[in-house]
């Protein structure tokens, strides 16, 4: 016999269920990205919640592929909207620093070879250095190194050509290295 209490509302529930099954496992990834972009948990929660509602609204436009990539793209868009609504231009997505090229970044050679031991950095210092990076750098580093996404996937999320992703990623790594060398030099001076 028909079990009406199940049949009724199944269409609504079915869509929601499929969405939750696909989307909820990526909640940590979505939150982590939002947290690194906004810099704090409360705003990251707002951005993620907004992103999930938006993703649900546009769920029908998801046509296969890696759901995480699709979702993180939406998280990023929600973040950009959030900036527009909530922050002054100070927070606007910083463009890549002008004149910063691979060669100028590499040219910074440490006097002290120990400074190159990036392994010796502690999490707290690393977090502070990351937050000092321009957002464009921070996001490619996160997507590449933490989310382990390919250049192509990062290009899809950031709506940037793949070639730009490659060069930006390269500069982002060098910029982080430069910050670390700077921090390390300061530490050495202060005898820490």
């Amino acid at each position: 016999m028909v079990r009406p209490h199940r049949t009724q509302g199944l269409a609504q529930d079915d869509r929601k269920r499929r969405f939750e099954l696909l989307a909820l496992p990526h909640l940590d990834a979505a939150f982590n990205l939002a947290r690194w972009l906004t810099g704090n948990s409360a705003d990251a929660e707002d951005v993620v919640q907004d992103a999930y509602l938006r993703a649900y609204r546009y769920f029908d436009s998801f046509h296969g592929g890696e759901f995480r990539v699709w979702l993180l793209g939406i998280v990023r868009n929600c973040f950009l909207d959030w900036i527009k609504e909530n922050r002054s231009s100070r927070m606007l997505f910083q463009a890549e620093p002008a004149g910063e090229t691979d060669e100028t970044l590499w040219s910074e050679r440490p006097r002290d070879p120990e400074a190159l031991l990036l392994e010796s950095i502690d999490s707290q210092t690393l977090e502070q250095l990351m937050l000092r990076l321009p957002l464009e750098y921070r996001e490619v580093l996160l997507l590449r190194e933490v989310e382990d996404l390919s250049y192509k996937e990062i290009a899809a999320i950031t709506t940037t050509p793949t070639g730009t992703v490659m060069s930006r990623l390269s500069r982002a790594r060098l910029a982080l290295r430069k910050l670390w060398l700077g921090a390390h030099a300061t530490e050495a001076v202060h005898g820490v």
């Binding site: 009724q8 869509r15 909640l27 940590d28 948990s41 919640q49 509602l53 029908d60 950095i121 790594r173």
Partner: protein, 246 residues
């Protein structure tokens, strides 16, 4: 200088993003060039540093539930309605059936907060890597592990030959009850079977659906059970009868 030709490709080499035969030529150059080798190593160490040292911010507890609650109950009209057979009977009959359903649910509905708690624990277990404290399909390992830590000893059996392989178990809290969560799988669906001690007489199976999950609950021999999964309701009901059928 030969290096100039390779400099721009070093990050790609470090990322493993070069295909043959280009990878071969770049790698051969790097092998013979201390300067480029040092650069590749540095690029890789930046990556290693981020992967191993950068704090990962997990979603705070409760965010999943808040999102679930905020999702609209109704699908947008653009979604094809698959339940047209019911609709085809006309509103009158559908309404009557709904009325029957409502009655059934009121009679057999398990406690609301507990159902919600069980679903929350289920979702949490899938999101965190904390699905199992003891991951084994060996029922003779899972059962003693749980009994040693709890005041109840829920039956644990491997139902692999019936399509529900045992994955393991863990301790969990559901709506304030400390209990066991025995984890099963059916095809790609995970089933959490929560169990804790509760006085009272044995009950039948009652079924609920919420937030896209199905829940079957019952009480037997002083233990309350909640089976939660995104499995189809009929299959979960079958599973409940296999586990709780005595």
């Amino acid at each position: 200088m030969a290096c100039d030709r390779f400099r721009a490709l070093l990050p790609l080499l470090a990322d493993g993003a070069l295909r043959q035969p280009r990878r071969f030529f770049v790698a051969r150059h790097v092998a013979g060039c201390a300067d480029c080798a040092a650069r590749v190593e540095e690029l890789q160490s930046v990556g290693t540093m981020l992967r191993t040292k950068l704090p990962f911010h997990r979603a705070p507890p409760g965010l999943a539930a808040r999102i679930g609650a905020a999702l609209p109950r109704e699908a947008p009209p653009s979604v094809p309605r698959r339940w047209f057979p019911v609709q085809a009977f006309g509103g009158g009959l559908a309404g009557a059936l709904a009325g029957v359903a409502l009655t059934l649910m009121v009679v057999s509905a398990p406690r609301d907060a507990v159902v919600q708690g069980a679903i929350d624990s289920h979702v949490r277990s899938l999101m965190a890597e904390h699905l199992m404290d003891v991951a084994t399909s060996d029922q003779h390992t899972v059962k003693p592990w749980l009994s040693a830590r709890l005041d109840v000893s829920p039956p644990v059996r491997d139902l692999a030959d019936l399509g529900f392989p045992l994955l393991g178990g863990r301790l969990d809290y559901v709506d304030g009850h400390k209990g066991a969560a025995v984890v099963y799988r059916h095809a790609k669906h995970i089933i959490n079977l929560f169990a804790w001690a509760a006085e009272g007489r044995d009950t039948g199976f009652s079924e609920t659906a919420r937030q896209g999950f199905n829940v079957v609950s019952w009480r037997r021999d002083g233990i309350v059970y909640y089976a939660v999964s995104d499995l189809e309701a009929d299959q979960l009901a079958a599973f409940a009868r296999l586990v709780g059928g005595g």
